[in-house]
Symmetry: C2
Subunit: 473 residues, 2 copies
């Protein structure tokens, strides 16, 4: 039987898209990649995912898993491939309030999981700009980061168990809901972050945490990144580690944001060299219940720290959110980052991590390198500063892939000179494959290749992604 007939039989009419119906799966969110799949398989359950993979394995056809398709590294490009979309597997199977966990299918939209957790007074703390359209499967497959990693860890830190369908269609049940389970090689962590190259994640057990009963949020201006770190450390000390988000935006970014959203007034009265979005969350009654003069203690800690540092001169300006609406406005400014970056083409999209106190060193050296490489380029820096994670986006003056690669290589040089990473949270996909080939430990790449060959001997799972075919240098 022809593969399309075979898939049509296995999946039914709703489960298979071809021709025009594939439109949503022919490009990525960044607009950098366009492709024509063979078809789009949209299984409704694990058994159907297994049937798709068994058929593809038999026919030796490439399979590209996709859920929300909001990735930034080209991980879902699938020229001639069977796109395996998890979008119909979108059930939240269970929210266990007492166990603080949820069982979700790979196609659940992140914001829906947020809502389901909140209904039980809990929180799923992973969050980022794409939360209204990204889905759990992609989030796990890229080990997504975001704005609350500082307090709650990366995606993998929030996953207790997974269900995975292997290349030949076998289903691997690792759906433990336990916090301790040492039973052999840790296959869960191997599959998380593998970007669909080793198997297709169909479901997961995730951790939930107590929902903070109060947040204190501020936009803060400082003169230097060093002063920003003084604020971070002061806040961590006072609150016992309750800082949920500590985000940096450079002046170029804020100019571009306000140009794009002229209706949004700047939050600080004068632009500062360093603008921060700071959020502290509290769960304990002693930090939430208003004191005699009506101040919520957690807000009081933030205001006190900012007051002290204004006096000491380390902070130049600060606005503490007075309402949920103002808090949303502050977050909207930060979360437009991906959208703002994409307003210019070409662009060089970086995802660097260094030690926290090396962020300013990195920015100084890369800005100098950029000035030499392309004096007319614009650099837009947005950073999860509390994690040392820097998105250094460059709008070069000319559209030339070699030029773009030279800029990316310069970023990698400067990050690696500080023992940093060229790939912090977005993943490798296609975009970072050259960086991977030239920067990752060669023995590690050889090891990845051996594992890939062992688990996907016909190389059908997202082929050509993540693991470079050859090691450079």
């Amino acid at each position: 039987m022809n593969i399309l007939d075979c898939l049509a039989t296995a999946l039914g009419e709703k489960g298979l898209a071809t021709g025009k119906d594939m439109d949503a799966w022919t490009k990525d969110w960044t607009g950098q990649y366009h492709w024509t799949p063979l078809c789009v398989a949209r299984p409704a359950n694990t058994q159907e995912v297994s049937a798709v993979l068994a058929a593809a394995y038999e026919a030796r056809l490439p399979v590209v898993p996709v859920s929300g398709n909001t990735g930034l590294a080209g991980g879902t490009k699938g020229e001639g491939a069977i796109m395996l979309s998890l979008d119909r597997m979108n059930q939240i199977r269970e929210v266990r309030k007492d166990a603080r966990s949820a069982v979700v299918e790979a196609g659940v939209v992140l914001s829906e999981l947020h809502s389901a957790a909140e209904e039980e007074g809990l929180s799923f703390p992973m969050t980022f700009g794409a939360r209204g359209s990204c889905r759990i499967g992609g989030m796990l497959s890229t080990n997504a980061g975001g704005s609350n990693v500082l307090r709650y860890g990366n995606t993998r830190d929030l996953v207790l168990g997974v269900e995975v369908v292997l290349a030949d269609g076998r289903v691997m049940d690792l759906m433990s809901a336990l916090h301790k389970d040492n039973s052999g090689l840790n296959l869960k962590h191997l599959v998380i972050g593998a970007e669909g190259t080793l198997g297709v994640i169909t479901a997961a057990v995730v951790k939930l945490v107590p929902k903070p009963g109060a947040y204190a949020t501020a936009v803060v201006g400082t003169n230097t990144l060093g002063e920003a770190l003084i604020l971070l450390n002061r806040l961590q000390e006072i609150t016992g580690g309750a800082v949920e988000a500590f985000e940096y935006m450079c002046p170029n970014y804020l100019r571009a944001y306000h140009a794009m959203h002229p209706d949004q007034r700047p939050i600080l009265s004068e632009p500062a060299p360093v603008t921060l979005l700071v959020e502290v969350g509290a769960t304990a009654p002693r930090d939430i219940e208003p004191d005699a003069d009506g101040t919520v203690p957690i807000t009081g800690y933030l205001e006190a720290a900012l007051g002290d540092l204004l006096e000491e001169g380390a902070v130049v300006d600060a606005v503490v959110a007075q309402s949920e609406a103002q808090r949303s406005e502050m977050w909207a400014m930060r979360e437009a980052a991906a959208e703002v970056s994409l307003t210019h083409k070409p662009l060089v999209n970086n995802d660097i991590a260094v030690a926290l106190d090396d962020v300013s060193v990195f920015l100084e050296s890369i800005n100098a390198r950029l000035k030499a490489l392309d004096p007319e380029a614009t650099a837009i820096t947005v950073s999860h500063l509390g994690d040392g994670n820097i998105h250094y986006t460059v709008w070069p003056s000319k559209d030339d892939p070699q030029h773009a690669d030279a800029i990316m290589a310069a970023c990698e040089d400067e990050a690696l000179a500080l023992r940093g990473s060229f790939s912090a949270e977005h993943g490798i996909g296609l975009t970072k494959l050259p960086s991977m080939a030239r920067r990752k430990d060669p023995v590690a790449i050889e090891t990845m290749r051996a594992i890939k060959a062992a688990l996907d001997p016909r190389n059908i799972l997202n082929p050509g992604k993540v693991i470079p075919a050859t090691v450079s240098e």
Copy 2:
């Protein structure tokens, strides 16, 4: 060249032990396993580890890595093998106070890392009874748990980077110190918990955390495990999640402990059905600085919670430690667990995990099963109750391996009926290999076998451990 000559040349006189000098490496800590190695290689650095593995690979000889040799699952048994001891690689290379991390070699003793962190006002929070003799390499290779997992996670949650020597001697550098580093398949998590079957961990970058400025510790008696959980939840709520340890000891255990240590007076005036060791830690000044009447706030929270629950009848007795000496006495009682278990032979040693609210269900059903299987057996239960992790040790009435296996199988049955794990924190080694074969998802075992074959094609690394050769049932 003969392998011993080859190793002697590579390692020098200090680096190779044979004959009588191997005595320390011919048995495990539990006394259950005895063996005669070919030799003990004691490399002084990563290059020497690489040389040992390259030589063993060439000669196709088994290599059993060992560091502190304090494991409870027989993972270091090495009949005829080259024992590769990391004990001479015992340098703490760096403690980075601001970055809150340390770079350590695999042979560092855990308590030495504790001290080095404390000198900088920080803490490495992984701790358990063997801390004075276990070493980092074994702790990572078994993904050890312990008493503070509730707050700080398992060993793998505290590891940022590792250096690993592969079967053929190649060195894989994954020594990232970053909190975000998504660069391909996560090989770090694959090697952690692999018990030396995929490579030898030679060094690691570990996370440090702020050292609590105050602890509040108590021994508490309740009538039921359900009441114990009320206390746990109340404490987590009041303190915003500051419970560091929540440990359960059964009456049989306390009787055996006091029989072994007659100099130690019982802490509670009357034995309670459920005895708990509870510890809360505080880092924020608001929880540490004594208030007007001299009470340290974190102690006040604990006392208030205990007072309320005494009044409500959920707690029957409680003693809050009034000094560091009293705190140590409380911990000594808990940490003698492994030692107490080993006073009787034969023993069946279990390492179960279930959901927190299933612990009492598990104990009730397994006690009933045990009564039927062996009415004269004694069961000793010690549990990291805050993690749902139960060490259910049985002293059977007769020395018969089949009988022991029937008891272990009954424990597995009851745990798996509650979707629990047969192996929470001690690892598989040899002891849990039958459990692994009959209980782990068969597709997961096949996948482990494929990875093992890909990374250790000559099967020289700790052969016959962790991954069953055949899948039962």
